[in-house]
């Protein structure tokens, strides 16, 4: 669409106010939550003063730290495996033509389509029946499954955007397939890989329902821990740790977008 703003022809009544309300709606809770995390008052709603105490409490709580560590371990491992699987699959799907490609797309997209609660139930039943103990490993496995499509999409997009002639040129210039991949494909693909890995990481960090079902004792991740805290009651510590999670997610998304802008 061309630049038309300012031209009264394109001002539809009610559109701008609605948009304003919507953006306020989207960010109000986030702002309020972060705001309250600095509230000195224990009885959250009335503002009495600015403090970082709640953050200090949170960051010194061994349970929270352990949950955070678990979250990071799960997210890192799941991301690593998922990104590798996504790279291989992406290379195959974009550099080859064969029947059944639609089927592969469908399978890879499956974790995105199936409702989270259904996946959680199915995965739990699978682990119990097959006899896999519920613990950190089970969580990692479950996370890897849905991290794959999130890593796959940016990688595939980046591969499709690459000129296929570049790899032919490399072969033409005496590079065998492995060296062509390492010297030409990989450097150009790298932003896509980073982007996919970061998205996958964030998704894993934020996932609650599936983790809730398949985490055993000692495998609590941060979202599951927060859920437990909320169940017990509203406390400023919950505000603080929730705000932390929010800020981490926002930071990651911003980074991912910025990386996506490089070498467009």
């Amino acid at each position: 669409m061309f630049k038309r703003s300012g031209n009264p022809l394109w001002r539809f009544p009610g559109v701008a106010p609605t948009a304003l309300v919507v953006f306020a709606y989207l960010y109000l809770p986030i702002v309020v939550l972060i705001g309250y995390s600095f509230n000195e008052n224990r009885l959250a709603t009335i503002w009495t003063g600015f403090t970082l105490d709640w953050y200090a409490v949170v960051l010194n709580n061994p349970d929270i730290l352990r949950a955070a560590r678990n979250s990071l371990v799960v997210a890192s491992t799941a991301t690593l495996i998922a990104t590798l699987a996504a790279i291989f699959a992406g290379l195959c799907m974009t550099r080859d033509r064969f029947r059944g490609q639609q089927g592969v797309n469908a399978v890879v997209a499956l974790p995105l389509i199936v409702p989270e609660i259904v996946t959680a139930v199915a995965t739990l039943l699978f682990f119990v029946i097959v006899g896999i103990r519920l613990g950190l490993i089970s969580v990692i496995i479950a996370h890897t499954v849905f991290c794959i499509p999130f890593a796959y999409l940016p990688i595939r997009a980046r591969l499709q955007g690459m000129d296929p002639r570049l790899e032919e040129a490399a072969a033409d210039l005496y590079a065998d397939p492995w060296r062509a991949f390492r010297r030409v494909t990989l450097p150009l693909l790298w932003p896509g890989i980073l982007s996919g890995a970061m998205l996958s990481f964030i998704i894993s960090l934020d996932t609650f329902v599936i983790t809730y079902f398949v985490a055993g004792a000692g495998a609590t991740t941060l979202p599951v821990y927060i859920f437990g805290m909320i169940r017990i009651g509203i406390t400023p510590e919950v505000n603080a740790v929730s705000s932390l999670m929010l800020l981490v997610s926002i930071a990651f998304v911003t980074l991912s977008v910025l990386i996506g802008r490089i070498r467009r």
Binding site: D163, R165, L166, E168, A169, A170, A171, D172, L173, Y174, A175, D176, P177, R179, A180, R183, V184, P187, L188, R263
Partner: protein, 367 residues
């Protein structure tokens, strides 16, 4: 029978079929071709004729469906591209955007394991060869189209391949640059002695640059020869029509005598030719006459030439085109006359003229 060991590239019944819904596409249909060492050889034809497919088969990016592909007598059809002593200049240049110009040019040498010193020296030499000295550290995106094209050329030549493949390398350049590069390429081929296989759809380009060329259509090589042969002696309607402008006349082979072969034109009148194109007496044939090989004179009753009337006169500065209708008032004929004495001495629209075609100028097509 020429020894095929001399041939830089030889194809024997080379065929390529692309699978697709509703039957495949025969991009190449049993092509037999011999390309000699140190030749500037052109594959010429409209889009879809198979010339690019043939190039890609030689480079190794596609596998043939049937037939053989030989290089200096050795079959190479199943060698992967990185093992063939062949380099390609791509239509879109395909320069590695994340490497500098120097790294691009040196890439092939790097892959072959040459020493750093040797690579650096060769890169410098190549930059000088294509007149891009000093641009080594730049990135391809910082260069103009013409400069990128020359980098692509240098990158390929740096490896001293046995055969250099060029896939319509000049199509993205503007006219002036194109003409310059045509001369450049010709010079480079001469200097390096490498066999160039050049793909284009521009027949003028093909005629000016090639030692020999192959005119292709619908997956087949219709005629192979030097530019002169192709232009002067086209063997089929397609070739006659594709290369330059031609007048095509349908006729019947009416007889032979000491002075040559006689043809009775459908449009009325008679022409003499020196060849029969392989046809029998009484056969229906198509004759081809180049517009610049025909003569115009004022109409004279009982004269030797064909009767015709000028329908339109188009002035081109260097020459004038006369669009005629022959005696049947229907068949068109174009005569091109150089404006030797300026615009004087021409004919006007509506004038009756006498059209003369020497026997040497009459081509009998084989189809």
């Amino acid at each position: 029978m020429r020894s095929t060991a001399e041939a830089a590239i030889e194809t024997r019944r080379l065929t390529k079929v692309f699978e697709g819904p509703g039957g495949g596409v025969r991009a190449l249909d049993a092509v037999d071709l011999v390309i000699r060492e140190n030749e500037f050889f052109t594959l010429l034809g409209p889009s879809g004729c198979g010339k690019t497919t043939l190039l890609r088969l030689i480079a190794g990016f596609e596998q043939p469906s049937e037939g053989e592909l030989l290089m200096r007598g050795q079959p190479i059809a199943h060698q992967p591209p990185h093992r063939r002593p062949v380099n390609t200049v791509f239509q879109s240049y395909a320069l590695f955007p994340h490497m500098s110009v120097a790294q691009n040019i040196g890439f092939g040498l790097e892959m072959q394991g040459r020493s750093r010193a040797e690579i650096a020296e060769t890169v410098e030499r190549m930059l000088a060869l294509v007149k891009l000295e000093g641009l080594g550290p730049r990135r391809p995106t910082q260069l103009s189209g013409g400069q990128q094209q020359r980098v692509a050329l240098a990158r390929a030549l740096a490896n001293r391949p046995q055969v250099l493949l060029l896939d319509e390398p000049l199509s993205a350049l503007d006219l002036k640059l194109r003409k310059e590069m045509q001369i450049e390429l010709k010079r480079l081929q001469h200097e390096t002695g490498i066999t160039f296989i050049f793909v284009t759809h521009d027949q003028e380009e093909a005629l000016t640059m090639s030692d020999r060329l192959a005119v292709m259509s619908e997956g087949r090589a219709l005629q192979v020869g030097s530019p002169t042969e192709i232009y002067e002696h086209p063997t089929s309607r397609f070739v006659a029509d594709f290369i330059g402008e031609t007048n095509l006349l349908t006729a019947r082979l009416s007889g032979r005598d000491a002075q040559g072969v006689r043809f009775a034109l459908d449009a009325g009148g008679e022409l003499r030719g020196l060849e029969d194109g392989g046809h029998e007496d009484g056969a229906r044939v198509t004759l081809a006459v180049r517009p610049e090989r025909a003569e115009l004179a004022a109409a004279a009753a009982g004269g030797e030439g064909l009767e015709a009337r000028v329908e339109q006169v188009v002035y081109f500065g260097t020459d004038t085109h006369y669009h005629l209708r022959l005696a049947d008032a229907a068949t068109p004929f174009v005569v091109r006359r150089q404006n030797r004495s300026g615009a004087l001495g021409g004919f006007e629209a509506g004038a009756a003229v006498s059209l003369g075609v020497a026997a040497e100028a009459v081509r009998v097509l084989q189809d």
